[in-house]
């Protein structure tokens, strides 16, 4: 085969592979994604097995029962909050008032978190006000 024909075949194969990869990426990412949402947006969703990535702030008054952490997540700027039941590693910076991201599914009246899915924003990034003198 002449070199020009070879190059054309290589180009077609490379482009075909790139298109295949792109299609796979698009298909699988939309299929596997968890919707990022807030407490106000999920408060009335049905228990249909869908998972959500819930973002908000931890409401004061969380508790532990055995290995289960019970807490409420509220809107960043608002009062609406939803209860979350969580098992797994609790990040060190987890505190009331801290911003958390947790992957949850609706179950009964509350939400059950995916194991080890709780992340708390790194406190070094908070621009906390210095204490008063």
């Amino acid at each position: 085969m002449d070199p020009r024909g070879k190059r054309t075949i290589r180009l077609v194969v490379a482009l075909g592979a790139a298109v295949l990869l792109a299609v796979a990426l698009i298909y699988t990412s939309f299929g596997a994604a968890s919707e990022a949402t807030t407490p106000a947006a999920v408060i009335g969703v049905p228990a249909d097995g869908r998972s959500y990535q819930l973002t908000g702030k931890v409401v004061p008054g969380y508790s532990r029962e055995g290995g289960v952490l019970h807490f409420r997540v509220r809107e960043r700027a608002g009062r609406v909050s939803v209860p979350v039941r969580y098992q797994g590693v609790v990040p060190d910076p987890f505190r009331a008032g801290r911003e958390v991201i947790v992957t949850v599914k609706r179950e009964g009246n509350g939400f059950v978190a995916e194991r080890d899915s709780l992340i708390t924003k790194c406190p070094s990034k908070f621009s906390s006000e210095p204490a008063a003198s």
Binding site: A14, S29, F30, A32, A36, D92, F126, S127, P130, A131
Partner: protein, 714 residues
Amino acid sequence: MLTLGRASLVLALAVAVVGIVSSLYGARAGRAEWVAVGRRSMYALFGVLTVTMVVLEAAFLRSDFSFRLVASHSSTTTPTFYKLTALWSSQEGSLLLWVWLLSGWASLALAATRKQLREIAPYATAVLLGLGGFFVSLTLVLAHPIQLLDPAPVEGNGLTPLLRHPSMMIHPPMLYSGYTLATIPFAFALGALITRRLDAAWLRSIRRFALLGWLCLGAGILLGARWSWSELGWGGYWAWDPVENASLLPWLTGTAFLHSLMIQEKRGMLRVWNISLVLATGILAIMGTFLVRSGILESIHAFGASTLGIPFLALLGVLMVSSAALVLIRRDELRSEHRLDSLFSREAAFLFNNLALVGLCFVIMWGTFFPLISEIATGTKASVGPPWFDRYTVPLAIALVFLSGIGPAIAWRRATPRNLRRAFLFPLAAAGGAFLVGWAVAGEPKVTTLAMFSAAAFAVAAVGQEFWRGARARHASTGASLPIALATLVSRNRRRYGGYVVHVGIALLFLGVAASSALQDVRDVRLRPGQSVHVKNYEIRYVRATGKLDHEKLSLGALLRVSKDGHHVATLAPSRGYYPSPDARQFGPIGRYFEGEATSEVGLKTGVERDIWTSVEPNIDSFAPMVDGIDRRFPLADAGAQGLLLNVIAERYRLDPPPAGFRMIVSPLVTWIWLGGLVAIAGALIALWPRPERARAWVLAVSKPRLGRAVGRA
């Protein structure tokens, strides 16, 4: 000092503007003296920003809380070592560190190339000063690091306990060095495109800076992973977090460039590709910085919502459009001199390596930005998790490690069947052996795990064979002993053999990643003293609770005894440190210890075969009534009384601890990740180190004029 610090920042902006104008004027008018003013402006920028850094570091060292930054991120009890690093734990301080490092590295690059690239350098200087000016403007307008706090508080907030780890001292400077060094080839590439000087000369001149940037970025990523494993209480080293991913993207394109550069140097091929990789690496480095600061993506590492996003987006837009436009305009001058002769050649191996690296970069970028993509496509933000990333990155990483064994061994232009047999018979046998050993040792591992074991063995064997053959040939030709022959072989071909050492390091690193992620055993348990649990083949017994108070925190933890087949292996002491909240009025003098920051101290036994990792989460809820009672009775307890009362709590915890939560992990070959990283760093240093004759030439170039002047004076 405040005035000096503020004035130095304003002066820095003025210097950057003067430097940009004089560089561009000098280049357009052909006036060397104006070009020199531009270059010296970069040195001046570095000097002026050094003054700002010194002012701030001095304020941190003497706990001057009239500086808002110091009051927010340090305290009198913060250890001196960490006072020095507290500067870059803030948005403002880290921006300053970024631009200071940029000016330092750029000064070095401009000084090193001042006698070469006379046409390109002024434009590169203008681009680098433009970036410097942009960051200085950000600090002046949106995130000023020097703000007065009046009245100054008597005590500061302290540095976040999580950041009190030696890795954190150097992790951000290393990452930022990687990012800022990536902008140097970027600036020279733009200069080369503007001036149409598109041969390989400029690439050769800045190659060392590209390699140094790659090394710093890689070391920074590795330090972050190490910190995560040994300090954070979740038991992992990589979480596919957007900010982590953002640091990986320029590293991947930078790796691709360092390989494809060789094809341009040897064969004059891939010129459009190379310059695109250089430009992409620079832009991705800025994008990484943007991601941390804009709050555009949800990340544990991102600074909260800030006003920096729009300026960064504008900068990225300008950089992307101008880069793409210049490449398109100059595409005829960037045509390759040769074409690929065969798919069985070193050029093809490098090309596939580049495709795998760019593919990895694309996949990671897609996953990282998916929340934005999905919002644009569907109106709803959604994100993908680690399993999605693993699905694509694992096969690409396996291919990459295999290719890192093929590249060094295969012939340039076209490999014959004989060459292929000679080059790959032994590495293939090693790969097969690793597959069988992995199968036998690991029980029922995943196919991908076995494939990575094989790929790593293949790469190490291929590179080892290259070393062996090279040393043997040298031994035969010079009569030197084999170790001497090997040393001189490496010394005379540092770039080549340094690169091979990097390949070995990366293969070991991926071997560690594959084994530790696929074969680890994780147990989450609640135990009382005396109880034990089995993790893999180890028995871990909770011997007793621990509790102690030091001048900064209350630590509650556990003493764990690890044994295997009845033999003692290690004693581990994971704990959790409770740092007091500064707000004693709201939480009470004792309660504030349980409402402040807490940090896990991991109990870790490292080993070549496996790491035993433990963390503890003491149940402090049972102490709540006791703490409330103390706070009610002693609301004004001073520091001495607080110490006594906290010691009582620590004693109570030691004697009668409630069940504690533990995470216990036995993870094989984690140490190989750090060892592989160190080997890769050593390889990069070998490749970077100047050849003896070049170092001699440099010394002579510096000393000859001085000698001449001295002789003249005499």
